[in-house]
Point group: C2
Chain length 669, copies 2
């Protein structure tokens, strides 16, 4: 393959008005850390290549699982060899080793060990953590059942205490109670933390966690009473053995109930947890992490699509003027540039929500739980909202690559199937957004009752007759105010509807359900407001040319967000017809303004080619060579004439021949 950079791509880089490395340093916390990231990632990429790793998209599902195991082992061992302790450096390494490839060992630490550490007593930790950390116990976290997901209380699996033997009997009584979906459960894990309905002395005591061994630690065979396996092919996540687990009266010692918060005494007496709210922490941190994951996915997808659109030439703008880069088409800019903005907005939000989580965690440690509801509402809303816009954005990028986007060579299908589960796992998005809405409604009630709100929630004090002062200059405060007004109006409106229904005698649950479409909208508007504000704040921290470019990108984010939900902003007359028409025109201007910097903006994400794993997104733009190279490696090309030809095609063809089948066939027409 040619080593030269495609001239169109070279020219794009030369015409950028800012230095993308400034932005890269912002993303990776400075030049030194960027250098270190590159060192770690290049090392891993080179070593894996020498180890003979195959391109993911050329492997069968079974091979993908096998290679994921091999890669994850390399990840852990390399982390140890390099002595990495900084979580960011670990993430960089992980990204280089398993880019958008689900590993069956991922949940061992993030869900199994961490959940155990959070829920186990000190004694339990002393006994088991060392075995977990040195991978004698390999595990996962097992909660969802075939028939039960978001609604924890609905789980059917039981853990019945037997005081005679001082054991729990774990049991899945029905087909719908079979544990289903946990990553790494099917073939990889020998242990797990299982959520089950605790029963003692005939009393149902709610959901509790139990450490359950499911396979022999030596032979890896399933233990008696345990039926465990892989759940079969999925949309993606092929490298992961998401599993099912059927427990048939499996007995575990009393000490295997995780007893930090609540306990069963030897005689079966139940000791209640002191404070439920402490349980929030884990989920909140995971959700903040998901914002980071999805922001990375859209960043990868838009890098691929923008680079490819700079290289791809297709159709003429002026007849006879020659084929132009597809990036010059307004419709292509309209599809892709807002995705660049989404990539930066969500990346920035993922950092701020993580910081916020750290701050609130520190307060909680000191016993101050005041900000917990706000953190919970915000992290739930952002997880859902960012999940949606990033998932949609990845598909927009894929479709913007035309036919080639459909090939696994583009890397885009893999990114999509790796992004979309974020809308379901760790809290289904609609369920989460309604939790965010619940917080908003509580705050609306406080406004009505004249109580004080946290500073950031003051947008809920809506001025009903307010008109936007937005003009063609698109000043930041006025754009932000539009989002504040809209988020406040929607929340207040639905809050009043709820009140009205309840005062008419509708019960609270029914009233909530009958307004949930608008509640979702309130949650979205709140989350979007946060993104717009947070992105604006970051942009203001930049200087010089970079600030100019990022301000334009921010404006594009804000303006396209308004236009995509224009009815929301016009409904109460806040945005006028003239302003709406102006915004439509200014959006097109912003696309032109950003055009020269599109490639530099995605280059700044600094993804190595091996991470993008894309024929279309290559740094050097040699897309057709890479596509052709990928094609040649198709398994169907291992033979010129496939067995299927002899077995099915040829007999079928012959069955259609009207003439004597024995007649000599002309091999050339």
């Amino acid at each position: 393959m040619s080593t030269a950079v495609n001239p169109d791509l070279l020219q794009e880089r030369n015409r950028a008005t800012f230095d993308p490395s400034q932005l890269t340093y912002f993303l990776y916390d400075g030049a030194e850390k960027t250098k270190r990231k590159r060192y770690i990632q290049n090392l891993a990429i080179q070593e894996l290549s020498r180890m003979g790793m195959k391109q993911y998209a050329t492997l069968s599902r079974e091979e993908q699982y096998k290679q994921a195991l091999q890669k994850h082992a390399y990840y852990v061992q390399t982390q140890q060899r390099l002595g990495l302790t900084d979580p960011h450096e670990k993430e960089h390494l992980f990204q280089a080793v398993l880019p958008c490839e689900a590993s069956p060992l991922t949940l061992h630490k993030s869900a199994f060990v961490n959940t155990f550490a959070m829920l186990a007593s000190e004694e339990q930790k002393r006994k088991w953590l060392p075995l977990m950390k040195e991978f004698r116990m390999v595990g996962t976290y097992v909660q969802t059942e075939m028939g039960h997901g978001s609604f924890l209380r609905g789980l059917e699996t039981t853990a019945t205490y037997d005081p005679r033997t001082q054991e729990f009997v774990l049991h899945c009584p029905t087909i719908s109670s079979i544990k289903f979906w946990p990553g790494g459960l099917g073939k990889t894990s020998n242990s797990c933390v299982v959520m089950a309905q605790l029963i003692s002395n005939g009393q149902k005591l709610g959901m509790h966690s139990f450490l359950v061994q499911i396979r022999d630690l030596d032979t890896h065979q399933p233990l008696s009473g345990v039926t465990v396996g892989d759940i079969g092919n999925k949309f993606g996540y092929h490298g992961n053995d998401n599993g099912f687990l059927k427990l048939d009266n499996v007995r575990i010692p009393r000490e295997n109930m995780l007893m930090r918060h609540s306990q069963i005494l030897p005689d079966g007496t139940y000791v209640k947890p002191k404070n439920d709210r402490l349980m929030y922490g884990g989920m909140t941190s995971l959700r903040a992490g998901i914002v980071g994951v999805v922001s990375q996915r859209i960043s990868m997808a838009v890098t691929i699509a923008v680079r490819y659109s700079a290289v791809r030439r297709q159709s003429e703008i002026q007849p006879g003027g020659g084929e132009v880069q597809v990036l010059d088409f307004q419709t292509q800019q309209f599809r892709l540039f807002p995705q660049i903005a989404v990539a930066y907005a969500t990346t920035i939000a993922s950092r701020s929500i993580s910081d916020y989580y750290q701050r609130v965690s520190a307060q909680i440690e000191k016993g101050d739980l005041q900000e917990l509801p706000m953190l919970h509402a915000l992290s739930a809303g952002l997880k859902a909202y960012c999940g949606w816009i990033c998932m949609d954005g990845v598909e927009v990028c894929r479709l913007a690559c035309g036919g080639h986007g459909y090939s696994q060579a583009s890397g885009l299908p893999k990114i999509y199937v790796d992004t979309t589960p974020a809308c379901t796992y760790e809290g289904e998005n609609f369920v989460l957004m309604l939790q965010t809405a619940r917080y908003l409604i509580k705050c609306c009630r406080k406004v009505a009752e004249g109580e004080a709100l946290p500073e950031v929630m003051n947008f809920l004090k809506v001025n009903p007759g307010e008109k936007s002062r937005l003009d063609a200059q698109l000043f930041m405060p006025q754009l932000i105010q539009a989002y504040r007004h809209r988020a406040g109006r929607i929340a207040q409106e639905v809050s009043q509807k709820l009140q009205a229904a309840i005062s008419k005698g509708v019960n609270a649950g029914q009233a909530w359900n009958s307004n949930s479409v608008q509640l979702i909208n309130a949650g979205k508007a709140f989350s979007q407001l946060y993104l717009v504000q947070d992105f604006a704040q970051t942009v203001q921290s930049f200087g010089g040319k970079l600030r100019e470019v990022m301000e334009a990108l921010w404006r594009l984010f804000a303006v396209s967000g308004i236009l995509n939900a224009l009815g929301d902003f016009m409904l109460d007359g806040y945005i006028s017809s003239q302003q709406a028409a102006m915004l439509q025109q200014r959006l097109l201007d912003l696309l032109s303004e950003l055009r020269p910097n599109a490639v530099a903006l995605v280059d700044a994400f600094d993804f190595p080619d091996a991470v993008l794993d894309s024929a279309l997104g290559r740094w050097d733009g040699q897309v057709y060579e890479a596509l052709y190279d990928y094609s040649l490696r198709s398994k169907l090309n291992e033979k010129q004439v496939l067995d299927a030809y002899h077995k099915y095609q040829r007999p079928f063809m012959e069955s259609q021949w009207k003439q004597n089948k024995a007649a000599a066939l002309t091999s050339r027409l």
Copy 2:
């Protein structure tokens, strides 16, 4: 597996207010034809089952290719055995045999034989059609190249006439000119129709078609000068060997140029075609067909999602009230019911556009080309618009099934990856929608010049100050008028912008590009207007209870369409704030109104379980049994302990053991 129908699903069917078989008969043209459809489909499903066909989602890509060949052979032979001639009956059979499974032989007839028949001279047809029809020649249509898609003139492959030998030399001069993507090209076809730049006597004469043999008809080995193969794994279409083809100075006889419209004489003299417009026909018919395909896909997806939502119980609406069917959540209705409406609207549109195509074809036969531009604009716009909404709708349905929607057991990933290519093939959607817009702009100019328009285009005569008279009764004419006004306003606005730019001296190509975002919007608004009107007309042909239900469904389609693009309708003050708020409320009312009939509305599509191929969408609602059954068949479950454990996992685990590795390991904790 239990043979009983899930009681929730049974109850749904009992509470429906209309008889779904009435609707089924409408969809399949009467009770007799419905019966015949069921007979054909059941026969095929039973025979294939006896032949031992495996569930698609459990197979590797190579197995999917093999099985698709086997099934396609069955399809052709069964069609012959049953003596099917009615195209609908053939479609029913095909659906039962290869539901959402790409077959490598599909393009043989639809693209190879049909294109050949359209472009070849009578003499050529006499010589070759019999060989094609009896599958001595198995072929495909080869147009796109790695570097060239929608822009036909950009193709690089050349066909240079050599008068000395009276042959054409076919050649791909660059990597970007390698033919890429045609279905069935990689391993299956031995022949193809190739589009190439004709060169004779040193003159470039534009794109022409050539019949090219690429493999030996007997050994199936590629011929000399031919490099051909599969392009590798894709998002879906695994059963199809989409291929690449590199022609290296391949010589074919002069008579292999398809000479119905233009010719090369033995001395190299070029004879021009008489009428370019006749070429339109094929594409237009294909695009009308695509509307049918995507409407079927969304119908399948929504059948699965609605049935599953009736069976799935999750969370409580009233605390302590027990878990409810997820179909009772307003948010779930909000996601799914508009998709039922999309399914019917696009199904109805696919029928009317096909009828229109037949009518215009008959006119063309008589030499009347008057309606051709309108047919072209409409079929392009509907192909694009229906492609978009059906693709999006399928994903909405998948996500509405939560985690299980991500499993291939749900059937939904397969439907999605089978639907999304419709946005790219046979004309990329943005390119097509701009063609529709070009027709709209021409019509706008006619309005400006006082010329007459076709009746259906009169909505372009916009009354600028018009206000909607829509009220809570949601009368049909007023809803339709809203779409007429909006489509007209957008088209006129962008037409004026184009004129303004041109009169300022901007060249036409640049002016077009700078307004293309709004041109796309104009094309969408036009296509949506057509759907709304066409659906309304059909609804009015129904009577009794069915009409009531279908009117509500139509209203949901119309109202949610307005709300999804509310800014478009409010921008010029056509819809007021009060009307917008009213529509938001009425949308929620329509969801409640349709709730009792949701299952009946999808049952009416009459998809056999084998066609849906979904654990979640089964007629009997035994979803968990089916999911579990699917899981057990995962290839990873063939062994309890995989080789990958011994090869990678165990050595990795041991590398992490701190204690003496030789120490006996406790197999149980």
